[in-house]
């Protein structure tokens, strides 16, 4: 690990004032400290956010929206009874990620800022345009079975690894940001950038900007009775997604009046499938319908290497997640959240 300066501000203003080129904000550290140990990240200064006042709250706003402070820990958010009741899909996504220890440390803001798990990004000795602009991409000719099938470019085929983010994308979350130029809001759908020719630019944040909260609109809680997160992985717990899907429906008189669908681990950002949602409106739930919607969701998907199987895997995961959502949100969180195993896993 490189030597670095350390600052421990107590207000957001102090934190932003402490920022300088080469500095990194530190929250739970579960991703950043790991990447510093391997030398993939070498910040000249760490700005420790853990003493910032007021960012660890889950609040109901006057307009009915829910505001989650950036320092709320993943475990605390998932186990907050009111939050889990309103947004069960978000809680299921959170609990399907990482381990109990990591969820106790990892934060809401940090989850949005986590880096890709692409093995070539994670290995400081491999060529990676995301890490070093212009260096090339060893993933293109390498072991790329888990890489992107949507929105990738010749420069980068890495995926965003977040589970939480997939549910946030489906539920129209908004990111509250503060920075040297003041405060602003970014639609979650616009927060993570597709690689294009500048994969090193991963988010819409400007230099020195800090995520202070994530907001979920009141309207998204209306989908709570039919919402699921489904995640395929190489083991039932404590693994990143091969493919995942967040699906939610609002049903009236047996018809779908509102639908949400987002896919995870298929692109450099959580992938919202608006066209598939549009196809579902006004229809009666059926496996055939969900299969058609899943086909639409994967329109335009192409292999970025030895990963054509991911396209079919994503189709089936999307269709299955919609079918599970149609059955209804489980009364209690499944023992194995978002898993194909155990209770609440079968259509």
């Amino acid at each position: 690990m490189n030597l670095f300066d350390y600052a421990r501000p107590t207000t957001v203003e102090e934190a932003i004032a402490a920022w300088a080129p080469g500095a990194s904000y530190l929250a739970g550290g579960t991703n950043l400290v790991d990447l510093m140990k391997t030398g993939v990240m070498q910040p000249g200064k760490l700005i420790d956010l853990n003493r910032l006042a007021g960012l660890d709250r889950i609040e109901s706003l006057a307009n009915g929206d829910t505001r989650v402070g950036a320092l709320v820990r993943n475990a605390d958010l998932a186990h907050d009874a009111g939050f889990a009741r309103a947004f069960p899909m978000v809680a299921e996504a959170l609990l399907s990620g990482a381990s109990g220890q990591l969820r106790n440390a990892a934060t809401v803001g940090g989850n949005l800022m986590q880096r890709t798990r692409c093995a070539y990004f994670q290995d400081a000795h491999s060529a990676c345009n995301r890490r070093t602009p212009g260096a090339g991409c060893d993933a293109r000719g390498g072991d790329n079975a888990t890489m992107a099938v949507l929105g990738w470019s010749d420069s980068c085929i890495a995926t965003n690894p977040s589970d939480f983010g997939v549910a946030l994308a489906a539920l129209d979350a908004v990111v509250e940001v503060e920075g040297p130029q003041g405060s602003r809001e970014i639609a979650f759908a616009d927060f993570h950038l597709l690689p294009g020719q500048t994969p090193d630019r991963e988010t819409a944040l400007a230099q020195g900007e800090l995520v202070v909260a994530v907001r979920l609109p009141a309207a998204s809680a209306q989908l709570r009775h039919h919402s699921r997160y489904l995640k395929l992985r190489e083991r039932t717990s404590y693994a990143f997604a091969l493919v995942s899907a967040a699906a939610a429906l609002r049903l009236e008189d047996g018809h779908i009046v509102e639908a949400r669908l987002a896919l995870g681990a298929v692109a450099a950002r959580p992938w919202r499938a608006n066209d598939a949602e549009a196809l579902l409106i006004g229809q009666t739930p059926s496996d055939e319908l969900f299969k058609r919607a899943a086909d639409v969701a994967l329109t335009g998907a192409t292999p970025s290497g030895d990963n054509a199987h991911k396209i079919e895997l994503a189709r089936r995961t999307a269709a299955r997640a919609l079918a599970l959502a149609a059955i209804g949100t489980p009364k209690r969180m499944p023992a194995f959240p978002a898993s194909l195993f155990g209770e609440h896993a079968h259509v």
């Binding site: 889990a84 220890q101 990591l102």
Partner: protein, 165 residues
């Protein structure tokens, strides 16, 4: 640049001066505070051998920079027993043979203590398996580990049927 921090480790106040900010809680415990019970496995947050409680919550001490923990209460495996009286989770690991080589055991036990305090798994074996998934055991003593955590959870009276979904 050096940093002075105060920690309460297993109930004892400790004042520590760090030469620089890179020291993890894991290395501080093992190398500086003479508490080698907490084990270094992967040192990357993947194996759980370094699990300790910080302010009552289980975390991976290998990913926690000590400088960020000024004022925290830390509990390690050395702080669990009351003299010669083992903690119920320690006793259950012995009773159910929850280990083979023992290297992951301090982390398993600290993780189980944290899990039981969280109150989400109760006495449901699947929820315990899920809740303990952050602790790897290369000897694969998982059956005994699950039985031990189930038993300790029952003895500690923490069944939480109907806990928050």
């Amino acid at each position: 640049m050096s940093f002075s921090i105060s920690l309460t480790v297993n109930g004892t106040p400790r004042e520590v001066t760090l030469e620089d900010a890179r020291v993890t809680l894991l290395d501080l415990l093992r190398e500086r505070l003479d508490l080698p019970g907490t084990k270094k496995g992967c040192d990357r947050g993947q194996c759980g051998a370094c699990t300790v409680l910080v302010n009552g919550r289980r975390i991976n001490s290998c990913l926690a920079l000590a400088v960020t923990l000024d004022g925290a209460e830390v509990t390690t495996i050395e702080g669990l027993a009351d003299g010669d009286h083992l903690h119920p989770v320690q006793a259950a690991f012995i009773a159910h043979d929850g280990f083979q080589c023992g290297y992951c055991t301090p982390g398993q036990i600290m993780s189980a203590v944290g899990l039981i305090a969280e109150g989400q798994a109760g006495c449901d074996a699947d929820r315990i398996r899920e809740g303990m998934s952050g602790n790897l055991c290369r000897c694969a003593a998982y059956h005994g580990i699950t039985e031990a955590v189930l038993d300790a959870s029952r003895r500690m009276g923490t069944d939480t049927e109907g806990a928050a979904a």
